[in-house]
Symmetry: C2
Subunit: 325 residues, 2 copies
């Protein structure tokens, strides 16, 4: 018997996570008996479900909201709610309010619940906690010196999750998601959007702009792998993780050139003509500060699994989104 | 012409910093024309000073206090105000309020001042940002995974100082102070207190309790070296530091055995009989999670200077505090 709360349930990963929770009917080995879904816009009610589902349109940075969401003592909390990197950079106050203050409000609501309540909290962090100068391959023990406000807010949240866990107020796990590729739907405000765009737009017969060179390397995972990370983080034995509850998830180090070659292989070389190279110095500068490749040894030893190949990532997208190729 | 604000001016390091500022009459190459001193208790007015000095009893976590303190646009701000490690561990709310919220209030007050105001902020951080498992010698690029709330609050503040600096709201430098030895005066609530106590108390003819083994190694600096770090941090060229404005200060890796041997050498072997070994598993566990030795290469290359030897540290203490030996 498990009550699951998903914050950020209306986002891309949130929706896919909810689908998976409904499909599995259980989390961390326990049957899901109640589902609470929250986001800044009201999340969709999963269809044809026997168990009780509450959906909330909530700004968890608003006074009392976090308390309201944990009022029924969820056993597993997935915290995916965030302002994306581009918007957190342009709207400094909003980024800190949602990505830091709301996270802290959630931690405080759990801490102040009282009794012996200490739920598993799975916090979606990001590889944006790392910033240049970076080694070619980043060890699990490498410092976090983010170069964006978004990365700063994620790094701070990881520290808070560790401290609240250490104090016994909750049982947290922070997972640093790679950049999610291929994101379905429309471009969002993330500076990393083009990593998906150069696959997604051509597959839809549309033009995609590539603002960086083809030698750029990036750390990627499919939406399905990301959901797998979240589900696995929910079931991990906390003690086995150790003091530092923040884990870099295993991804694939993929170059833009590999992305383009894979698009050609899977959907035909003509599709690659839809990628228009239009160098953008501002974006190139942001990307240059980002990590490229990791030794995700800790996560691998705890059983987290990366995608098999970039080709599999593209084929998954085509299958899940019913794209004609 | 420089207006200097010292937050935490009534603390041990704060008082020594003010003495040095008064003695030098300048900071970062500029004549000090105004001095604002604040602490939770009203700081002492430095005697015989021609320039304007304001002293404030202020809780900078209280609404409006940070704005009040930066109202006259100080050019250099030393932020030393903090709840010490032991108290931050036992009073979770107070620790976060003073060590995190107040720091953030200060950063926001500076940011919201407007115009082209972006003062040099020197933030006193701590090696408590590091936590086990630790290598024997810690590189500048090693991760910060604190094992105390105090260390967490300092690590978060460093991230905030970096982000506010990157955004151009201020010009910050965070310096990670080693444990300060020999602290004059009475023991405080810091778990590291005995590193000073086993020198200070015997020199005063009093008994000191040693709660850990003599093989324990710790990273130390004298109060004079700490003040030197602060003064140097105020005058550094920000650009030369790079994106990561947090620097581990050069200290000395000293064993308890070396401390005892130095006490014997400087004040006679009889004094060491006043050190009573009384192992305390709780303190030993805290200390075991602390760093021992650093490669402080970045700070050294920027011109920060460590003490010459532990013997010099003890002799400095004897001289500055007018101890009879």
């Amino acid at each position: 018997m498990s009550h699951v709360l998903v914050l950020g349930a209306a986002g891309m990963i949130g929706r896919k996570l909810v689908e998976r929770l409904v499909e599995d009917g259980k989390v961390a080995g326990h049957e899901i008996t109640r589902l609470t879904l929250a986001d800044v816009v009201e999340p969709t009610h999963p269809p044809g479900l026997a168990l009780p589902v509450d959906t909330h349109a909530a700004d968890i940075s608003a006074p009392g909201e976090a308390e309201r969401l944990v009022a029924h003592a969820p056993d597993v909390i997935f915290h995916l709610a965030a302002i994306v990197s581009g918007e957190a950079e342009t709207d400094f106050d909003k980024g800190y309010r949602i990505n830091l203050d709301a996270t802290r409000a959630l931690l405080e609501a759990i801490r102040n619940f009282g009794g012996d309540y200490h739920p598993r909290l799975v916090f979606a962090s990001s590889i944006a906690v790392f910033g240049a100068p970076l080694p070619e391959r980043i060890a699990d023990t490498f410092q976090r010196t983010p170069l964006t406000s978004y990365g700063t807010q994620k790094a701070i949240s990881e520290l808070l999750v560790n401290d609240y866990t250490r104090k016994g107020f909750l049982d947290g796990v922070s997972i640093r998601l790679p950049t999610i590729v291929v994101r379905p739907g429309k471009p969002n405000k993330a500076a990393s959007g083009f990593f998906s765009g150069i696959i997604r737009e051509p597959l839809n017969g549309e033009e995609a702009v590539l603002p960086v060179g083809t030698d750029v390397v990036h750390w990627m995972a499919s939406p399905r792998a990301a959901v797998g990370f979240l589900m696995h983080a929910a079931e991990l034995d906390g003690e086995s993780i150790g003091h530092d509850r923040a884990l870099t998830m295993p991804g694939l180090a993929v170059t833009i050139a590999e992305e383009i070659a894979t698009l050609a292989k899977v959907a035909g070389p003509a599709k690659t003509n839809l990628i228009r190279q239009e160098p953008d110095a501002a974006i190139a500068k942001i990307i240059a500060g980002w990590p490229r490749s990791f030794d995700a040894g800790r996560a691998l030893s705890l059983g987290f699994k990366a995608d098999a190949s970039f080709e599999e990532i593209v084929r998954l997208y085509i299958e899940e989104e019913n794209i004609e190729v």
